[in-house]
């Protein structure tokens, strides 16, 4: 039985939004809730009002994207103040007199009423402006000033879900980086693996970037309209990796296999030199050591040679040889598979099509006639496509 958690995690009942006392004050004093015919409040109406109060209060920050930055929930306090900005203005706030703090409370109230469409943070900075509705050009200027001063987001500001600390909105490749990668691979002819190691972007991603960029180029050539406005807007809302020199992601990941997640009691003499290769063997006979499972094994070799004090030129040659050898092995494996498949099939050339014939054994169904490797329908067995819980749609789409 799995371990029990004593402290429960999720509340089924909705929690009343109670970030500022001004909200509740507003709700209580509102004449909309004092009904002539009933003394009790309908809870749903209260909830709805809280919802709209939130939307016109802290929720306003999320209606439109924050220019030049991401705009996630956890970047704001529950009052709707941008945390980064709050930290910056903290020092100034201390210097301010108590009068301004009194004005601040008034501002909060004003913003909740929905009269002031301004950002609460801006309202806090200049209390004089909030008494009467500010003019548009002034508002714009303020916003521009803010964004110039806006700090870069920290990890805290990049969490879209305030409850989930383990999920972070990770950066995406910017347009310029995609273009650079495409140039590297297609125009300069750099090998995908090399380009991946140089740019610190995983091999699959480099390949995908090139593939998608090629489609974009084709569209451009055909004069097909691109979704540029969409692209610009979306990318401005996301954290970006803006240069190839920036490390984008880890390129040396190895999957954790189920066979390695168990604890193994493997006694060895103390004098034994027990390496990663031995550890892999202890887990499973077929398991390769981490050094051989890792993508970009040439990086280990480079470091090793550097530690041995080899010259840069020699290192480059050796690493290139190693990479070439690996590529050869990879191609060799693919070819071998192909050859094996060819050996299994007999091709009979027809007038319009070639007939590919493979040998099938009737005994493959096994003793009970239920082995899935068997071919053909057997008397009394239900058709696969009629069975429950079987996937009846395509499982792969050939590219």
């Amino acid at each position: 039985m799995p371990a029990r958690i004593r402290v429960a995690a999720f509340s089924r009942t909705p929690l009343i939004y109670s970030s500022s006392t001004a909200f509740q004050h507003e709700l209580r004093s509102s004449s909309r809730y004092t009904r002539h015919f009933s003394q009790s409040l309908r809870s749903s109406t209260v909830l709805r009002d809280q919802f709209y109060a939130w939307l016109s209060g802290p929720g306003q920050n999320f209606e439109k994207p924050l220019p030049g930055s991401t705009n996630y929930l956890s970047a704001y306090t529950s009052d709707g103040v941008l945390r980064r900005q709050k930290e910056e203005t903290k020092v100034d706030e201390k210097e301010k007199s108590q009068e301004s703090s009194a004005a601040k409370v008034a501002n909060d109230g004003a913003s909740i009423d929905g009269q002031n469409a301004d950002d609460p943070a801006t309202a806090m900075d200049n209390p004089d402006n909030t008494t009467d509705t500010p003019e548009e050009p002034e508002e714009l200027k303020e916003e521009e000033l803010e964004n110039d001063q806006l700090k870069k987001e920290s990890l805290r500001d990049l969490r879209p879900f305030p409850m989930n600390q383990q999920f972070v909105s990770e950066s995406v490749l910017s347009e310029s980086v995609r273009e650079d990668i495409y140039n590297q691979v297609v125009n300069k002819g750099t090998h995908v693996v090399k380009a991946s190691a140089d740019a610190n972007i995983s091999i699959e991603r480099v390949a995908a970037v090139v593939r998608l960029k090629q489609i974009e180029k084709n569209w451009l050539k055909d004069g097909k309209p691109l979704a540029r406005a969409y692209s610009r807007a979306v990318l401005s809302m996301l954290p970006q990796t803006t240069s190839i020199a920036q490390a984008h992601e880890s390129i040396t990941d190895i999957p954790i296999l189920p066979s390695t997640t168990r604890q193994v009691f493997h006694p060895v003499p103390e004098s034994r030199h027990f390496t990663r290769a031995d550890a892999a063997k202890a887990f499973s006979d077929n398991l390769k050591p981490a050094d051989e499972r890792m993508p970009h094994q040439e990086l280990i070799l480079t470091r090793k040679l550097q530690l041995q004090g080899e010259r840069q030129h020699a290192i480059r040659i050796k690493v290139a040889q190693f990479a070439a050898q690996q590529e050869k092995e990879r191609i060799g494996k693919r070819e071998a598979l192909k050859r094996r498949e060819e050996k299994r099939t007999t091709v009979v050339a027809g007038r319009r099509w070639d007939f590919q014939i493979k040998e099938i054994k009737a005994e493959d169904v096994g003793y009970k006639g239920k082995n899935p490797k068997g071919t053909g329908w057997r008397y009394g067995m239900p058709h696969e496509d009629r069975k429950r819980a079987l996937i009846k749609i395509p499982e792969r789409v050939e590219a």
């Binding site: 799995p2 958690i5 004593r6 402290v7 429960a8 995690a9 999720f10 089924r12 009942t13 929690l15 909830l47 809280q50 919802f51 929720g59 999320f62 994207p65 705009n71 929930l73 879900f161 305030p162 409850m163 989930n164 600390q165 999920f167 972070v168 990770e170 995609r178 991603r205 995908a208 998608l212 960029k213 489609i215 974009e216 451009l220 004069g223 309209p225 979704a227 969409y230 807007a233 809302m237 996301l238 880890s250 190895i254 060895v268 103390e270 390496t275 990663r276 031995d278 050591p289 981490a290 890792m294 970009h296 480079t302 470091r303 090793k304 819980a389 749609i393 395509p394 789409v397 590219a399």
Partner: protein, 457 residues
């Protein structure tokens, strides 16, 4: 799945969409003390909450079959560390290293891997979910609708199965217009607002003192009446159809397909004339190639004119005319320049080398020209899109409200927004400190949900 309670404030559920209700529920969702509840109750509540977000369209039985207790994770290896050590330092002494120093060097061992947040990883493989995660739709249900309605391609082929489980390396594309619709601001489709806007337009027309003002007003009045009766889609198509007859105030909209075809043909004829004129023989190879490329572009556009939409044709025509003007302008100074260089080269070297040089330059410059033409076409498209009544979204395009707090793209996808295409690189994984499955719930809730599904009921 009842429609009424999908976004309730009372029984608040976090849904897989970009709705403001979802945002509000996300913001007020806090941990509560549930010590008084039984373990079963806790698990039930966690399952209920998480399933409302993860694959809400999937039937429970199907999800139970998809569920896997083996959660994928990766470790990031440090090549520097691996080059320095062969792993024996961790097995020294009694089997756990001689001292804690060797462990200090190894950063991997420090932070934990949040496996439990990966509970719903199989759902992230679904096509509809991936489309939503790539920010091509505003909710999973909308993504699902796009697939079913045939706006989605997988590996370049039309594909209509929203429950398709993507394989690593699969590419999916969504029709850009649908994406712009899904993620764009809402079009004002209110009849009254439209009437107001129309009347404003008519008064503006009157003040200009045009002869056709009264006629146009009548026509627009009739159109507005029709608009009141019909659904938005039909009205737009109808008004587009009636426009050429009633209006001649707007020059661009007055073009019929036949007209555009004629204009294209005229441009092609002009281009041919330029190319075959005796003056061109004196021009440099570069300019000649430019002219040839232009001719080719025009003929290609002409051949494609029957397939493309009318508004697109108008832009391309305007664009082509602008290009032709530019070419004509270019021809005279280029001629002078060419003759000057030819003279100077004739003095020093043979004529063959000069032509070669010209060709080399022209090739590079032709690429630039091609790129410039492509850019110009895209700009023209964008200008066209800036105010396009026929679009089902507000133009010029703006992101929809409350989109930015939901805008993130997980690392297992690589997205190209320009063509609205994405590649599913690999399955989502957990790594030290990070779980790639985007879930709004905390680790304890996910763990309770995981425990619920550990045993089949």
């Amino acid at each position: 799945m009842s429609r009424q309670k999908f976004r309730s404030l009372k029984a608040a559920k976090i849904r897989a969409d970009w709705n403001k209700y979802t945002l509000f529920n996300l913001d007020r969702n806090r941990r509560a003390n549930e010590a008084s509840r039984t373990y079963f109750q806790q698990k039930w509540a966690a399952k209920k909450a998480t399933r409302a977000y993860h694959g809400e369209v999937i039937r429970e039985k199907k999800w139970q079959r998809m569920f896997s207790k083996k959660l994928p994770a990766v470790v990031s290896m440090d090549p520097k560390y691996m080059a320095k050590h062969d792993g024996s330092e961790l097995a020294m002494g009694r089997g756990s290293g001689l001292s804690s120093d060797s462990r200090k060097d190894n950063k991997i061992l420090d932070s934990t891997t949040p496996y439990m947040q990966m509970t719903y990883f199989p759902i992230e493989r679904r096509l509809d979910m991936a489309i939503w995660r790539a920010l091509f739709a505003s909710s999973v249900r909308q993504a699902r609708q796009f697939v079913v309605h045939g706006y989605v391609k997988v590996n370049g082929k039309p594909f209509r199965h929203p429950s398709y489980l993507l394989n690593p390396g699969d590419m999916f594309q969504v029709e850009p217009d649908r994406v712009m619709f899904a993620t764009g601001a809402k079009k004002v489709n209110n009849h009254r607002t439209r009437q107001r806007m129309k009347s404003r337009k008519v008064t503006a027309f009157k003040t200009r003192g045009s002869k056709n003002a009264t006629k146009t007003e009548q026509d627009e009045g009739a159109e507005a009446e029709a608009a009141a009766e019909e659904s938005p889609e039909t009205t737009t198509s109808e008004s587009a159809a009636t426009q050429p007859e009633s209006e001649n105030a707007d020059e661009e909209e007055a073009d019929t397909p036949a007209d555009t075809h004629k204009r294209l043909k005229a441009i092609l004829a002009a281009a041919k004339e330029i190319a075959s004129s005796p003056r061109t023989r004196e021009l440099s190879g570069k300019t000649k190639q430019e002219i040839r490329a232009f001719k080719k572009l025009v003929s290609r556009t002409l051949s494609r004119s029957s397939k493309t939409a009318e508004h697109q044709q108008v832009t391309t025509i305007n664009d082509l005319v602008a290009q032709m003007e530019a070419l004509k302008l270019k021809m005279s100074p280029a001629k002078a320049r060419n003759s000057a260089t030819a003279n100077s080269d004739n003095q020093s070297t043979s004529s063959t080398t000069t032509t070669d040089q010209n060709l080399v330059i022209s090739e590079a410059e032709e690429q630039d020209l091609q790129q410039a033409i492509q850019e110009a076409i895209q700009d023209a498209h964008e200008e066209q899109q800036a105010a396009d009544k026929s679009k089902p979204y507000k133009t010029p395009w703006q992101p929809r409200r409350y989109m930015s707090p939901f805008a993130f793209i997980p690392r297992y996808l690589e997205v190209n927004q320009n063509v609205c295409a994405a590649v599913y690189l690999r399955h989502p994984v957990a790594r030290a400190g990070i779980a790639e499955v985007p879930t709004p719930f905390n680790m304890e809730t996910s763990q309770l949900a995981f425990n619920w599904y550990l045993r089949r009921r």
